[in-house]
């Protein structure tokens, strides 16, 4: 049975699935809503980075969304199934369907202006679960969509908070931990996979050699540039270890910008004025020769504490939502952070969050067994 936009129908079984006819067109997010149509807390969302609810009533499994209404919390009145695009709108996508053996919902690109769409709602009605085809959304994408469900979306840091303090290396800040915010805080980063202490690893699910270019990006709050104060300079670097035992370092310091066609540092953002921060490009097609790549960030000059820089490290893997981790819980006197690793094991690639802080390259080296020789350098 085809459910057209606006149409609704009863659901007569507790366990059922809905399948997307196309994979990878968009980021899928599912919002668990109360009687006011609002998300109740951090656990009220299901997306790639948090693919199931704690009780298991809703879970995303690849192209499929699985429901078990028998364990749906009583506080949930409605479940909204949505998709968002990073760029463009749904008019640029092919027609796709959301279906199971009972119902089919079709979404045509024709006349679309939305970058975020609510596809369907699963909702309670007079002690009966029903499904509605909504097919409405927001031109502005994820932000207005999430806000309509009472979720505040973090915007990427645009400028450093106003401060009259000139940062010096002796100015020790109390580290703040935005990620330790109370559970009632509804601020979530929705479209991305967040690697956290609780879930530090993600399997990229593709064999080494089959991946395209993987981009590792480090971005941070732009510091004030003035006559007496320099902007914040964070540097992104990588340790590369090959299967044959060779090892090398990629970083601006020492002008080590590339290693063959394996890996390349794209320029050096000295002032942080570039909106993109710094990036390292990894050739995914040659990962077969690689054992591991460890990405690190260090404070070259500017701030002395990580919470001031608000660094965000993101791995962009083709065909996957961005994988990100935040560099905010470092301590002031440790200016070097080993952020993440790509591990190649038995032909499969795994992304791992590390987020360990060190005094410098040497400490990190000995902690992870790089066994490289280190000398002082400047750029």
């Amino acid at each position: 049975m085809e459910l057209t936009a606006g149409a609704n129908a009863p659901i007569d079984t507790d366990r059922f699935s809905l399948t997307f006819s196309e994979l990878g067109l968009m980021d899928v997010s599912i919002f668990m809503l109360d009687s006011n149509g609002k998300v109740l807390g951090d656990e009220g969302m299901v997306f790639y980075g948090q693919p199931k609810t704690p009780e298991g009533s809703v879970s995303i499994n690849g192209q499929k969304i699985d429901f078990d209404l028998s364990c749906m919390p009583a506080s949930i009145e409605k479940v909204a199934i949505t998709g968002t695009l990073d760029s463009g709108n749904f008019s640029q996508k092919p027609l796709f369907k959301l279906f199971n053996d009972q119902y089919t919902l079709s979404f045509s690109p024709e006349g679309r202006t939305e970058a975020a769409l609510i596809f369907a709602e699963i909702y309670r009605r007079n002690n009966q679960w029903k499904m509605r085809c909504v097919s409405q959304g927001f031109n502005g994408g994820l932000k207005p969509l999430a806000e309509s469900f009472g979720v505040q979306v973090e915007s990427p840091p645009a400028s450093e908070p106003a401060s009259n303090n000139t940062q010096t290396s002796t100015n020790i800040q109390t580290p703040s931990k935005p990620e330790d915010a109370p559970a009632t805080d509804k601020r979530l980063n929705l479209s991305k996979i967040n690697l956290t202490k609780q879930s530090p690893k993600i399997n990229l699910d593709k064999v080494a050699g089959a991946l395209g270019d993987i981009k590792a990006n480090l971005n941070w709050i732009k510091g004030k540039t003035g006559f007496f104060s320099k902007g914040i300079d964070l540097d992104l670097g990588a340790y590369v270890e090959f299967v044959n035992g060779d090892k090398t370092i990629i970083q601006a310091l020492g002008n080590r910008f590339r290693e063959g066609d394996y890996i390349q540092l794209l320029g050096d953002d000295r002032t942080g004025t570039s909106t993109d921060g710094e990036s390292i490009l990894v050739n995914g097609r040659k990962l077969n020769d690689v054992k591991r790549i460890m990405f690190y960030a260090f404070i070259y000059e500017g701030v002395s504490s990580w919470d001031k820089a608000q660094g965000i490290f993101t791995l962009h893997v083709p065909g996957m939502p961005p994988i990100e981790t935040h560099l905010t819980d470092g301590v002031a006197n440790k200016s070097f952070c080993c952020v993440a690793a790509l591990n190649v094991k038995a032909g499969r690639v795994e992304a791992e969050r590390i987020n360990e802080y060190f005094q410098g390259h040497k400490d990190c080296d000995s902690a992870f067994g790089w066994n490289l020789e280190w000398t002082k350098g400047s750029k």
């Binding site: 936009a5 606006g6 409405q136 959304g137 927001f138 207005p144």
Partner: protein
């Protein structure tokens, strides 16, 4: 006492409502939260003669003709978006002012330009139509348009009709895939 009518159920308003002659027909819906053309729902009513037709277009009450000459039907104004709580469009009915020749008053609601805008009631949030007895402020009947008339664009909600000298109400609750104009013209 609130009476909830099933579709097609008839009640004797004079008896059930203590002889009340004044009713409020309320149409409500939520303003569109998503991007796109607003949902513009219209409440309308038609006073029909013995032959089932309106005597003239002035007996059809809608956004361009807000009150009947007799004063028996008064539309409180067109709402284009659904902004505001409760009833967004109201037609007040005073049966004591309705001419003897009028045998039936039909109440309906429709989405303005539904076809052009590809809209139906199911896309509108919390759309309802109801009748309230102003004698005791009790809701006589309410239909949930979003839920139960989802794929329709118009609904003839109910009709007041004379029967043996008394007014009765018939909850017709019939959904249509019609435009406002089509619906109103069907009464002429």
């Amino acid at each position: 006492m609130a009476i909830n009518l099933e579709k097609g159920q008839r009640i004797n308003l004079e008896k059930e409502s203590g002889g009340a002659k004044q009713f409020r027909i309320g149409l409500g819906w939520d303003a569109r939260a998503t991007d796109g053309t607003d949902f513009d729902l219209d409440a309308c009513a038609a006073m029909l003669q013995e032959n089932g037709k309106a005597a003239s277009s002035s007996d059809i009450i809608y956004f361009n003709n807000l009150s009947s000459a007799c004063g028996g039907l008064i539309h409180q104004g067109d709402n284009l978006t659904g902004d505001g709580d409760g009833d967004d469009e109201v037609i007040n009915v005073d049966l004591s002012k309705v001419p003897e020749s009028v045998q039936k008053i039909v109440f309906a609601a429709a989405i303005y330009k539904a076809g052009e805008r590809s809209q139906n009631f199911g896309q509108v949030q919390n759309a309802f139509i109801r009748a309230v007895n102003l004698g005791n402020n009790e809701e006589v009947i309410r239909y949930d348009l979003s839920e139960d008339y989802s794929v329709n664009t118009a609904v003839t909600f109910g009709e007041l009709y004379r029967h043996n000298g008394e007014w009765k109400f018939n909850a017709t609750g019939e959904g249509h895939k019609m435009e406002v104009g089509e619906l109103l013209n069907s009464f002429l």
